[in-house]
């Protein structure tokens, strides 16, 4: 009886393995074609168009103060953009806050150009928004530089710890957390590969290419936009733009990618 039972178990296991192998074959072939698809998109990233517009916006006097953004300090000194995005988010003494590139940009639009917070952020999520254009331009200025998110300041370390906690925080009607989809190797939603953010290499490959042109959206998404939409897909409510929950997650995710060479703007599904 026992022999028979284990024999059956082996039989079932064998059946499962065969099925799994067939599935892998088919999936492997599909993934190969998708790689080819992505390859064909690499040359000619429409994000470059938004980057060009961001560059123009950077030097255009705007707002009640008719000022440009050229005096904005992203942490490496007034007006210094080269490599700045690779070291964000970071703590800024003048706002006593840990800020990401978008939050800092809005600070400058308010302080230098005299815009209200509402004016500066009103259309952040719309296709080809001024904010997305500026973020794309600023990110491209870190091309070739390693990600180095500072955590030495007490507030930076705190945001990092909160970001890690948030990454694993399950709630909502689907019991989801970031970790549900992003904490194992080689996983996919349908055919979409999911970076495992607990793995350094995966985190690096993902983080160096935000902001990115999303072909499914026909426009560039910033990292805040990406995270905000993950919340939507988890069936959570929408977090406030520039809120600490998003920035904390960015600190954690980009810290996971420490040392990776920036290659933004990217192009993604």
């Amino acid at each position: 009886m026992r022999v028979l039972a284990s024999g059956l178990a082996v039989f079932f296991a064998g059946a499962v393995l065969t099925l799994a192998a067939a599935d892998d074959d088919q999936t492997g072939r599909a993934m190969e074609q998708i790689q080819k698809y992505r390859q064909m998109l690499q040359d000619g990233n429409p994000a470059d168009l938004l980057e060009m517009r961001g560059e123009q916006l950077w030097v255009t006097p705007r707002g009640p103060s008719r000022a440009t953004l050229e005096q904005c300090d992203f942490g490496l000194g007034t007006g210094k953009l080269e490599g700045a995005d690779a070291q964000l988010p970071r703590y800024f003494a003048d706002t006593d806050q840990v800020q990401d590139v978008e939050s800092r940009l809005v600070t400058c639009m308010m302080r230098l150009q005299g815009l209200t917070r509402e004016e500066a952020t009103a259309s952040w999520y719309l296709p080809d928004s001024d904010l997305a254009a500026l973020v794309t331009f600023i990110a491209a200025k870190s091309k070739g530089m390693p990600i180095r998110v500072p955590t030495a300041h007490r507030k930076e370390a705190r945001m990092h710890a909160i970001g890690r906690e948030l990454f694993f925080r399950r709630s909502g009607p689907l019991d989801f957390a970031c970790a549900t989809c992003h904490s194992q190797d080689g996983r996919r939603i349908r055919l979409q590969e999911l970076p495992n953010f607990l793995d350094r290499k995966d985190a690096q490959a993902s983080m160096v290419t935000w902001p990115a042109y999303r072909v499914s959206e026909g426009t560039v998404w910033t990292l805040e936009h990406r995270v905000t939409d993950c919340f939507r897909q988890m069936r959570w409510p929408q977090p406030e733009y520039l809120s600490d929950a998003i920035v904390a997650l960015e600190v954690y995710l980009r810290k996971q990618a420490d040392g990776a060479i920036m290659d933004a703007p990217g192009i993604k599904r």
Binding site: I34, K36, I189, R190, Q192, S216, G218
Partner: protein, 149 residues
């Protein structure tokens, strides 16, 4: 539907006139009939042919699976002598003709662009060479990516 040609001219006559004078724009008119065709045959007729012959000399380089139907990259190469134009026709789009490229002397019959595909279907590359139409077809699968919502 699309604004009529007359409206088009009225709005932009001045600009187009200037561009024409500068030699930037040819005097061609957008081929409404071809672009509004619903079948491959309609498109061929709209482009001035009647029927097309399948040809291995027309090559479609494209992935078999596209991660998103909004952007499907493809390269069309014609090895036929006297290639005059290359059109891309997406079988199951509401209006199948996506683009038609005129290839003047001295330009290689080798075009890359990106088109939208509403669903998995055949893509036809339709080439006019020496006054006749030739085509080849390739099926491209459109997958549902991401979280599905």
């Amino acid at each position: 539907m699309y604004p009529g040609r007359r409206k088009f001219v009225k709005q932009t006559g001045g600009l187009i006139g200037l561009l024409l004078a500068a030699g930037f724009v040819r005097t061609e008119e957008w081929n409404r009939i071809a672009f509004e065709g619903k079948q491959l045959d309609d498109v061929i007729r709209g482009l001035g042919g009647n029927g097309a012959q399948e040809s291995a000399e027309v090559v479609i380089l494209a992935p078999e699976i596209a991660e998103n139907g909004a952007v499907v990259p493809m390269q069309i190469i014609s090895k036929l002598n006297k290639t005059e134009s290359i059109a891309i026709v997406v079988e199951k789009n509401p209006n199948p003709l996506a683009a038609n490229f005129s290839i003047p002397d001295g330009t290689l019959p080798d075009i890359q662009t990106r088109v939208k595909m509403a669903q998995t279907c055949s893509v036809y590359a339709l080439v006019r060479a020496g006054g006749k139409f030739f085509y080849s077809a390739k099926e491209i699968k459109i997958t549902q990516g991401g979280c599905g919502g």
